[in-house]
C-alpha cells in the first residue's frame, strides 16, 4: 500500500509511557501523607507503554481499542493535558482538543456568554469570536435560544453548541474523544460534514471512537491500542479487523450466517490463498491470483441432499461485492465425507480493505439453503489509499469551464 507522503510530522510521540499511581485510599490529605508515608498503599498502573505515534499533515487517524486500553490517556498526553511519565511528545500548530463537549460551560451563563468563555479557553480572541459568532450560532441551530442560560438546554442542544464552538476554533490539529456521535441524526451528519471539510482543508484529525464504521469511512489510518500498547497502526479496515479480533466480536470463524441450520452439512473453513489449496494469505494485492477453498463435510444422514456451494464476498456493512457458485449439478455429492470446493480467480479485483466470506450450501432439490457460515476478514486486499470498497483508476483533467 503506498504510504501517504508525510511532509512533516504534526504529531510526534516517541516512546511515550504513562504511569498512574492508584492509591488504595487517596493519600491526598496532608495527615495521611504524614501518617502513611509516601509510598504506602500505592499501586502502579501503566496506562501507556512505549507508544510511538507519528501523524503527518492532513491525516485522519482513528484511535480504537477496548475500554481501558489507554486511548483517552494517549489523547490527553498528545493534547498536553497529561504529562507522560517517559518519552517525548511534540505537536506542531494550534491544537483543539474535544475531550468532552462543553467542558468549560457554565450553566448559569447564557449560550452566547458561554460561546465567548469557551472560545477563549480554546484559544480564540474576543475579536475572532465577534466575527464567528453568527456562524457559531447558526451551526448550533440554537437561534434565539442562544440567550437562555445553558442550564435550560437539553443535553442535545448543549452538545450542539459545544461542538459548534469547537469546530469554529479552526485548529491545525483536532483531537476528539468519543464525542462525534452527538445530537440527532441530522446534526451527527452535519458534524461529519464538518469533519470532512477539515479533511479537505488538510487538517490533522485524531479521534477516539467506538463506532468502527466511522473509522473505515472517515479515516485514512487506524491505530489499535490495547493494554497501553499500539497493537496495529495502518489501514483503517485492518485496524478495525484487528480490534474485532481483540474484542472477540469478529464472530468466531464459521459462525452461522443465517438461522437456516438444517444439518447434514458442516462448513469447516473458507480460505483465501494465492496458490490452489495453499496457506491462507492474509494480505492480497489487486491482480494476484486468488484461490478460495471451502472445506465442507457431508454427514451421514438420510434426509439431506446437499447441492450447490455458493460464496459471497462482502465488504463493510455486509455489502455483497461479488458471488461465486458451483454450476448446477456440480455441488457436493450426497455421499458422506470431507470435500474441498475450490474457486479459482485469475486476478483479484481492485478491492480495498477487509472482506467477509459468506459460504452457503443449498439443498440439491429444493435449492433452499441448508447451512450458511460467515468468515470475517477472510480476505484482506490492499490496493488504493482512497476510501471505498473498490479502487478505481481514473484519468482526471482540470480545465477552465466555459
Amino acid at each position: 500500500m503506498p504510504q501517504p507522503v508525510i511532509s512533516a510530522p504534526v504529531i510526534s510521540a516517541k516512546g511515550v509511557s504513562k504511569r498512574f499511581l492508584t492509591h488504595s485510599s487517596k493519600a491526598t490529605q496532608l495527615k495521611e501523607r504524614i501518617v502513611k508515608g509516601r509510598g504506602a498503599g500505592t499501586e502502579e498502573f501503566w496506562a501507556l507503554r512505549d507508544v510511538d505515534v507519528t501523524v503527518g499533515d492532513g491525516e485522519t487517524v482513528g484511535l480504537i481499542g477496548p475500554n481501558g486500553a489507554g486511548k483517552s490517556t494517549l489523547l490527553k498526553v498528545l493534547a498536553g493535558i497529561l504529562r507522560p511519565t517517559s518519552g517525548q511528545v511534540e505537536v506542531q500548530g494550534r491544537i483543539a482538543s474535544l475531550l468532552e463537549l462543553g467542558a468549560g460551560f457554565n450553566g448559569e451563563l447564557t449560550g452566547r456568554e458561554n460561546v465567548y468563555l469557551n472560545a477563549a479557553l480554546l484559544g480564540l480572541s474576543r475579536k475572532e469570536v465577534d466575527r464567528l459568532l453568527d456562524s457559531i450560532i447558526e451551526f448550533s441551530e440554537q437561534g434565539p435560544r442562544i440567550d437562555d442560560p445553558v442550564k435550560h438546554y437539553s443535553s442535545g442542544e448543549y452538545v450542539k453548541l459545544a461542538f459548534s464552538i469547537a469546530v469554529h476554533v479552526d485548529p491545525d490539529v483536532l483531537l476528539i474523544d468519543e464525542v462525534l456521535a452527538v445530537g440527532d441524526e441530522a446534526f451527527a451528519r452535519k458534524c461529519l460534514g464538518k469533519i470532512e471539510q477539515f479533511q479537505q482543508a488538510g487538517k490533522t484529525i485524531l479521534f477516539v471512537t467506538h463506532s468502527l464504521d466511522l473509522v473505515t469511512t472517515l479515516c485514512t489510518r487506524g491505530i489499535v491500542v490495547d493494554h497501553g500498547r499500539v497493537q496495529y497502526d495502518g489501514d483503517p479496515a485492518f485496524a478495525v479487523g484487528t480490534l474485532r479480533k481483540i474484542l472477540g466480536t469478529d464472530r468466531p470463524v464459521g459462525q452461522p450466517l443465517a438461522p437456516v441450520e438444517i444439518g447434514g452439512v458442516v462448513v469447516h473453513s473458507a480460505v483465501a490463498s494465492t496458490t490452489p489449496g495453499g496457506p491462507a494469505s492474509s494480505r492480497l494485492r489487486a491482480g494476484d491470483p486468488l484461490h478460495l477453498r471451502v472445506t465442507c463435510e457431508v454427514l451421514a444422514s438420510d434426509e439431506v441432499y446437499p447441492g450447490e456451494v455458493g460464496v459471497v464476498v462482502m465488504g463493510a456493512g455486509d455489502i455483497p461485492v461479488f458471488a461465486l457458485r458451483t454450476p448446477a449439478g456440480e455441488g457436493l455429492p450426497p455421499v458422506p465425507g470431507r470435500y474441498d470446493v475450490d474457486f479459482a480467480i485469475d486476478a483479484v479485483p481492485p478491492l480495498n480493505g477487509a472482506f467477509i466470506l459468506g459460504v452457503q450450501v443449498d439443498h440439491a432439490e429444493t435449492h433452499l439453503p441448508i447451512t450458511a457460515r460467515r468468515f470475517d476478514d477472510a480476505i484482506w486486499v490492499e490496493t488504493g489509499v482512497l476510501p471505498g470498497l473498490l479502487d478505481v483508476p481514473a484519468l482526471t483533467t482540470v480545465t477552465e469551464a466555459s
Binding site: 511532509s7 512533516a8 510530522p9 510526534s12 516517541k14 498512574f20 491526598t28 490529605q29 496532608l30 495527615k31 501523607r33 499533515d57 490527553k76 493534547a79 498536553g80 493535558i81 497529561l82 504529562r83 517525548q88 511534540e90 506542531q92 500548530g93 494550534r94 491544537i95 482538543s97 475531550l99 468532552e100 467542558a103 468549560g104 457554565n106 448559569e108 451563563l109 456568554e113 465567548y116 468563555l117 477563549a120 479557553l121 480554546l122 484559544g123 480564540l124 480572541s125 474576543r126 488538510g202
Partner: protein, 301 residues
C-alpha cells in the same frame, strides 16, 4: 522533535509553520489576558446573576463587617480614632481584597477540575482569575469608601493620596504571588485551602485595621519595624495614609496619640520597597512552583 532538515520548504510546510508559531506566540499573551477577563466576568456574572441587588452585594459583606466592627470599637472598646469608620474601611477593604483574593485562588484549580482535566489552556489564568475577582470587587468598593470619606469631611485630596497607587500595586503582586502558590499546593494537599482560610483569620489581627497603628509603635518601640515585615501591614497602613487625614489624635486626658503608622512619606516608601522585594521573590517562587506542579494537575485532580 524538529522537522527533518532535508524536507523541502513546501507552502504550509515547516517553514510557514515556524513563522506561524511566532505570530501565534505573540497573539498568545493577549489571548491569555482575554481569557482571564472572561473568567473574571464569568465569576461576577455567576455570583450576582439572578439576585435583584446584583453588584450591590459585593458591597454588602464588607459594609456589614464594617458596621459590626464600628459599633464594637466605637462603643464597647473605643479605638479612640476620629472618623473611625473611614480609617476602618480603608484597612478592612484592603485586607479583604488580599484575603479573598488568596482564598479564591486557593480553590481555583481544584474548583475547575472538570476544565483542567479536559481542556488545554494556560492554567495560570485560574488563580489569576480568583485574584482578579477580588480586585474587581475592591475596585467597586473603593469609590464607595471615597464618597463616604468625602461626606465625613475626611480630606484625602492631597499628595499623600498618590500613595494608593504603589499600595494597590503591592497588594496585586502579593495577592497574585501567594494565590498562585497556594492554588498549586492545594491540588496536591487539599488541606491547603482550609489552612489558608484559618490563617487569614489570624493574619487579620496582625494588621492595623481595627486598632491604631500607633499602639504598635508605643508597644514595640525600637522594634516597630518588625511589625512591618508583614507586607500586608504595609499595604493596609499605606492605604490608610493615602485616604485617612489625621496622623495624630488627642485623647480625653489630652495625650497626643499616633493613629497612622507614620505621619511622613519615607516610612512608607521604605516599607513598600521591602514589600515589593519580598512579593517579587514570592512571585518568582510561586510561578516556578506552579509551573512545576501544573503538569500533574490533570492527574492529581
Amino acid at each position: 522533535m524538529s522537522a527533518p532538515a532535508e524536507s523541502a520548504p513546501l507552502p504550509g510546510g515547516p517553514h510557514d509553520r515556524a513563522a506561524l508559531a511566532r505570530s501565534r506566540a505573540a497573539a498568545q499573551s493577549s489571548i491569555r489576558w482575554e481569557l482571564l477577563s472572561q473568567l473574571v466576568r464569568k465569576d461576577l456574572k455567576v455570583k450576582y446573576q439572578g439576585s435583584t441587588l446584583g453588584f450591590v452585594w459585593s458591597l454588602a459583606n464588607p459594609l456589614f463587617m464594617l458596621g459590626i466592627y464600628y459599633v464594637i470599637f466605637t462603643y464597647v472598646f473605643p479605638a479612640g480614632v476620629p472618623n473611625y469608620h473611614v480609617y476602618l474601611m480603608a484597612g478592612l477593604l484592603s485586607f479583604t481584597a488580599f484575603s479573598q483574593g488568596v482564598i479564591n485562588a486557593s480553590v481555583s484549580v481544584v474548583g475547575n477540575a472538570g476544565l483542567v482535566k479536559k481542556v488545554r489552556f494556560p492554567l495560570l489564568v485560574l488563580p489569576l482569575s480568583g485574584v482578579g475577582f477580588a480586585m474587581v470587587q475592591l475596585a467597586l468598593q473603593l469609590p464607595v469608601l471615597l464618597v463616604i470619606a468625602l461626606i465625613s469631611g475626611v480630606n484625602f485630596l492631597g499628595p499623600e493620596f498618590l500613595l494608593i497607587i504603589p499600595a494597590l500595586a503591592l497588594l496585586l503582586v502579593l495577592t497574585t504571588a501567594l494565590g498562585t502558590l497556594v492554588s498549586a499546593l492545594n491540588v496536591r494537599f487539599r488541606d491547603t485551602s482550609h489552612f489558608v482560610e484559618i490563617f487569614m483569620l489570624v493574619w487579620f489581627w496582625t494588621n492595623p485595621i481595627l486598632y491604631r497603628a500607633g499602639i504598635i509603635k508605643e508597644q514595640l518601640g525600637d522594634y516597630y519595624w518588625v511589625y512591618f515585615l508583614n507586607p500586608v501591614a504595609t499595604i493596609v497602613s499605606t492605604v490608610q495614609r493615602a485616604i485617612y487625614d489625621q496622623p495624630f489624635t488627642v485623647n480625653d486626658q489630652g495625650e497626643r496619640l499616633q493613629v497612622l503608622a507614620d505621619p511622613g512619606y519615607l516610612f512608607y516608601f521604605r516599607n513598600l520597597a521591602i514589600g515589593f522585594v519580598f512579593s517579587g521573590l514570592l512571585l518568582l517562587l510561586a510561578r516556578r512552583t506552579f509551573n512545576r506542579l501544573q503538569a500533574d494537575f490533570a492527574e492529581d485532580l
